[in-house]
Amino acid sequence: MTRLETRQAVIGYGDTTIVHGVDVQIPDGRITAIVGPNGCGKSTLLRALVRLLSPSSGTVLLDGEDIHRIHTREVARRVGLLPQSPVAPAGITVKELVARGRTPHQKVLRPWSAEDEMAVTSALHSTALTSIQDAVVDELSGGQRQRAWIAMTLAQDTPLMILDEPTTYLDIAHQYDVMDLLHHLNERQGRTIVMVVHDLHQAARYAHHVIAMRDGVVAAAGAPAEVFTEDLIRDVFSLEARVLTDPVTGTPMVVPAHGPGGAR
C-alpha cells in the first residue's frame, strides 16, 4: 500500500529540469531511504513529495489525490517535513519549538488545546528531551538540536515524515542516535519515514526500501539487499566497491574497492 507516490513527475527550478519523469512509491509504515550522488535530484524529489516544488509535468499523489489540489494546511496534517537547514528563532526553548509543530492543527483565535499539549508532551518524551524542554535551542549540542527539530516534526502528528539529510553535520554517535530514533518511531508508532541520506551504510541498516537515483532518474528501487549490488554502486556512484555483509545487522555493507593499499 502507498499513500504517497509520484507519476511521471518532471521536477526542476525555473527552466532547469532536475528530475526527469520518475515513478516512485513510498511504502506505508516503512522507512524509505533515497540515495544517490550529489546533484542526482534526490533532494528535489523530496521537495516535490512535500509540495515545496510542483512538478512541471506528471503528478505527486497523496492518498490518491493530486497533492497540489489539497489545501496547504491539510497537506501539513498528513506529511511532516524536517528541512535541511531550518532556523531556530533566537532564544526559543525546546518546548516552544516543538509546540510550533502544532501550527497546522491550530486556527486563528482557537487557543492551545489539551490535544496540542498531549502531542507536544509525547513528542518530547519520544525524543528523550523532556528533561531539557526549557533549555534554549541555540545552546544545545548538534545532536540535541536535531532531536528537537525531529520532535517538532513529531508534534505535527503526521502519518508521513520526510527528512532531508537528518544526519548531516552530526558526529558519528549522534548520527546513529538519530537513526535509532527514526527506527523507533517507525517501529513503535508505525510512522512512514522517507529520508535522504548520504551514508549508504546507514541506508542499508535502517531502511526497508531504498530508492537509488542517478542523473534525475530512478536507477533502482527495492529492499537494500536488492539495490546495493556491486554493479549498481558502480553504475550510480561511479565507484568500484565490494558489497559485504554487515557483521552486526546482516545488511549489505558497501566498501570501496580501492584505498591507500591499492585495489586488492
Partner: protein, 343 residues
C-alpha cells in the same frame, strides 16, 4: 502559557508577555494623564482627568485638553503603534534587527511622495498629502522588490537596495524643496523633521482608521509570521502559504509606515527600537506585535513629552529627539553585529 478566552475564542500568550503588556498599558495611561496636564501651561492631574472624560473644566482648560493636548497625545500614541508594528513585521520578515521602514527607504519614499505632492498639488489637505506619502512608499517598496528579487525575496539584498533607494528618495525630496516657493518649502522642511505638534482630531481619525483596517489583517497573519522565522521550507511544511502571507504582511508594514509618515512626517528610530525593546522585555522568541505596538506608543509619547519639557530655547521637534536617542542604539547594534553577536 496563559490563555485568554472570550466564549469559544481565545488567544494563547506567555504569562510574561501578558504581564509586560499590562504594565505597558498602565504606563501608557499614566503618561497620557501626565501629557494632558503638562505643556506651556500646567493643569492639575484632577483637571486633566476631568478634561479627558469630557467633564468641563472651564476655559481655557477645555480647549487646551480637548483641542490641543488630547489630539497631539493620541496622534503620538497611534503613530507610535503604527511604527512599532511596521518595524516588528519588517524585522521578522527579514530576520534582521536592522530592518525598519526608516532604514530601508520606505519612510524616505513616503517623505518624497508627500513633498512632491506639496510641490505639485499644494498643501490642500491632509488627505492629499497622505495619499502622496502612501503612493511614494508603495512605489519605493516596489522598486526595492524589483531590485532585490531573485526567485523570491532575499532579505539582505532587500535591506541594501532599500538603503540605496532611501538616498535616491532623499535627493528627490531635496530637489523638490529647492524648486518650491519659499513658503511651501518652509512648511515641507518643518514637516520633514517629524513632529506631532499641532496635530488635530482629523489626524487621530486618519491613524485610527488605518490601524482599524490593517491590524486585524496583521494579527490574523501572526502565526504565519512566527512560523516563517524558521525558514520558508519549514513554514510551508507547517501549512503556511508563505508567498501570500509574506506579501500581505509586507504590504501592511509599508502601509502602516506610510500612514505614520503622512501624519507626522518621518519620525526616525521608533520602528527600529520599539520591537527590539519589546522582545527584550517579553523575552519572547520571535516577533511580538502587540508589545511592539505598545512600546512604539510609549516611546513616541514619552519622547514628545521630553521634547516639550525642554526650555523654550531648546524646543525640539520629537523627530530630532528620537533620532538623538535612537542613533546610539543603532551604533550599539552595529557594534554587536560586527563582533559576531546575535541580537
Amino acid at each position: 502559557m496563559r490563555i485568554l478566552r472570550i466564549g469559544p475564542l481565545g488567544i494563547t500568550t506567555h504569562r510574561r508577555t501578558f504581564a509586560v503588556g499590562l504594565l505597558m498599558l498602565a504606563a501608557l495611561a499614566a503618561l497620557l494623564v501626565y501629557a494632558m496636564a503638562h505643556g506651556q501651561s500646567n493643569l492639575t492631574i484632577l483637571d486633566s482627568l476631568k478634561g479627558m472624560v469630557g467633564i468641563s473644566i472651564g476655559s481655557p482648560g477645555d480647549f487646551i485638553v480637548g483641542q490641543v493636548r488630547a489630539p497631539r497625545a493620541l496622534t503620538a500614541i497611534l503613530v507610535g503603534m503604527m511604527l512599532g508594528v511596521s518595524g516588528a513585521i519588517l524585522q521578522s520578515l527579514t530576520r534582521n534587527p536592522l530592518a525598519s521602514p526608516d532604514f530601508i527607504g520606505i519612510s524616505m519614499g513616503a517623505g518624497a511622495g508627500a513633498v512632491l505632492t506639496l510641490w505639485l498639488v499644494g498643501a490642500s489637505s491632509l488627505w492629499v498629502t497622505a495619499a502622496g506619502a502612501v503612493a511614494g512608499a508603495l512605489l519605493t517598496s516596489a522598486l526595492i522588490l524589483i531590485l532585490s528579487w531573485r526567485r523570491g525575496i532575499v532579505p539582505l539584498r532587500m535591506i541594501l537596495a532599500g538603503i540605496g533607494i532611501g538616498f535616491v528618495m532623499q535627493a528627490v525630496t531635496q530637489y523638490a524643496i529647492t524648486r518650491m516657493d519659499v513658503h511651501d518649502a518652509g512648511n515641507a522642511l518643518g514637516w520633514l523633521v517629524g513632529s506631532v505638534t499641532g496635530r488635530t482630531w482629523t489626524h487621530v481619525e486618519a491613524c485610527a482608521v488605518m490601524l482599524a483596517v490593517l491590524m486585524p489583517i496583521v494579527l490574523w497573519n501572526t502565526g504565519a509570521l512566527r512560523t516563517m522565522e524558521m525558514g520558508d521550507d519549514a513554514a510551508r511544511a507547517l501549512g503556511v502559504r508563505v508567498t501570500a502571507a509574506r506579501g500581505t504582511l509586507a504590504a501592511c508594514s509599508v502601509l502602516l509606515a506610510a500612514g505614520a509618515v503622512a501624519v507626522t512626517g518621518p519620525i526616525g528610530f521608533i520602528a527600529l527600537v520599539a520591537p527590539a525593546i519589546a522582545l527584550r522585555l517579553t523575552r519572547n522568541a520571535g516577533v511580538t506585535l502587540i508589545p511592539s505596538a505598545l512600546m512604539g506608543a510609549l516611546l513616541l509619547l514619552a519622547s514628545d513629552q521630553v521634547a516639550q519639557a525642554m526650555p523654550a530655547t531648546l524646543q525640539l521637534p520629537v523627530g530630532v529627539f528620537t533620532a538623538a536617542v535612537g542613533a546610539p542604539y543603532l551604533m550599539w547594534l552595529v557594534w554587536r553585529a560586527s563582533r559576531g553577536g546575535q541580537s
